[in-house]
Amino acid sequence: MKALLVRDLKLAVRAGGGFGLGLAFFLIVVVLVPFAVGPETALLTRIAPGILWIGALLACLLSLDRILALDREDGSLDLIATAPLPLEAAVSVKALAHWLTTGLPLVIAAPVLGVLLNLRGEGYGWLVVSLAIGTPALSVIGTFGAALTVGIKRGGLLLSLLVLPLYVPVLIFGAEVARRGAEGLSVATPLALLGAVTCGTIALLPFASAAVLRVNLR
């Protein structure tokens, strides 16, 4: 398990792994928004939590097809599937590696980009907390989508179509935590629900991912 994790991390960080691409994409989305809606700081302050959440979500989506497709191409996915490690565990490790290389940098970068969008001072803490709790769910759901489409050539668009509706609950609760945090309201309810969604997906979705991966490797 550890070997698989280390391998995935190394592959992601080294040349051609696309590490940092998600971050750059996140930065560009956040930079483009003021061009689209105008530079008034009051407006930007109001929509900043939502923009940061949707940016993080899209950046996460962008790197999903790398989770399994590359391994499928060079054949290592077959080796992983035949290894003594249960496929459920392998899929979970893949999701964890994806989160460490995509989700975690986004969480760390979000406050910096919050400055660009003139996020309110109270909002930074809750923004980071909501992203830190929410992005693991994005990775796990994304791994499920990647497992579904791993057998399809150029399945990137299909992957987005399948995964984005599944992201709705996470986005709603996550953005709500960030918004309420920025406006100084109580965040307890959406935070609890966000945590529940994340825990639920982490506990259950790897089984579905492993099941569809088995079908695809058949």
Binding site: F144, L148, T149, G151, I152, G155, L158, L161, L162, L164, P165, L166, V168, P169, I172, F173, E176, T189, P190, L193, V197, L205, A208, A211, V212, V215, N216, R218
Partner: protein, 243 residues
């Protein structure tokens, strides 16, 4: 001992539906024509909504079938995953576009009603939003079916997607409630209204719902039969090539 699973045999299914389908289609036509005519011409205008109230005869049954269509797909997917009956997988595939169209009908009639009543075509009301999300789920499901060539693989993958999607659709339904409940306009479309609706509107509505249920059933059976025939044809062509 006749078991319900006998109908999962494609030949049995074909012969039974061959006999039953004209009846279902005919009954659905009668119920729809009678229900809509009754609803449109023989019921009084609502004192507050005027004649726009009559769109309820399309809107409510379509919305009902949009949700029940997904439930039917869920049941068929489960049957496929557990018992591997091909007819079940094909029925789920056949139901998806019908359900998607029902969702569109519900959304469109809702918008047409909403324009004079609420003064807007669209509001980010929980009920409307969750229907839009349901439509996205339908789209993803149909797209996944279309993207995979091998029939059994596609059936397996879409079945799992349907199961996972059902959980998330339900989750989104309540998440959306949480996200925006201040508007409360959705209450005018809520299921409780059916009990509140006066009998003069209620009976034609029931007839329309029955018509839509039968219509949905007829379309799904027809499409399933088409799928079975298409699959048989492919098998025959493959055999020809082998010979």
């Amino acid at each position: 001992m006749a078991s319900i699973w006998e109908y999962a045999n494609p030949r049995k299914f074909m012969s039974v539906t061959d006999r039953v389908l004209p009846w279902i289609a005919g009954l659905s036509a009668i119920a729809l024509v009678a229900g809509l005519a009754w609803g449109f011409f023989l019921t009084p205008d609502d004192y507050r909504q005027g004649s726009t109230v009559k769109i309820i005869y399309l809107h409510v049954p379509a919305a009902l079938m949009a949700i029940n269509g997904w439930l039917m797909m869920l049941a068929a997917s489960l049957v496929w995953l557990v018992r591997r009956h091909h007819v079940s997988a094909l029925a789920a595939r056949a139901a998806a576009p019908v359900g998607a169209v029902m969702t569109v009908i519900a959304l469109l009639t809702g918008a047409i009603w909403g324009q004079p009543m609420w003064g807007t075509w669209w509001a980010w009301d929980p009920r409307l939003t969750s229907f839009l999300i349901l439509f996205l789920f339908y789209l993803g499901y149909i797209a996944l079916w279309a993207a995979i060539e091998d029939g059994d693989t596609a059936a397996d993958l879409t079945s799992v997607l349907c199961l996972v999607g059902s959980v998330f659709a339900l989750l989104s339904r309540y998440a959306v409630n949480f996200w925006n409940q201040g508007l409360h306009q959705g209450a005018s479309l809520s299921l409780d209204k059916e009990e509140n609706v006066a009998d003069v509107f209620y009976f034609p509505l029931l007839l329309c719902i029955a018509g839509f249920v039968l219509f949905f059933l007829a379309l799904v059976l027809l499409r399933t039969r088409t799928e079975i025939r298409a699959r048989r044809m492919r098998a025959l062509m493959a055999r020809e090539r082998m010979a």
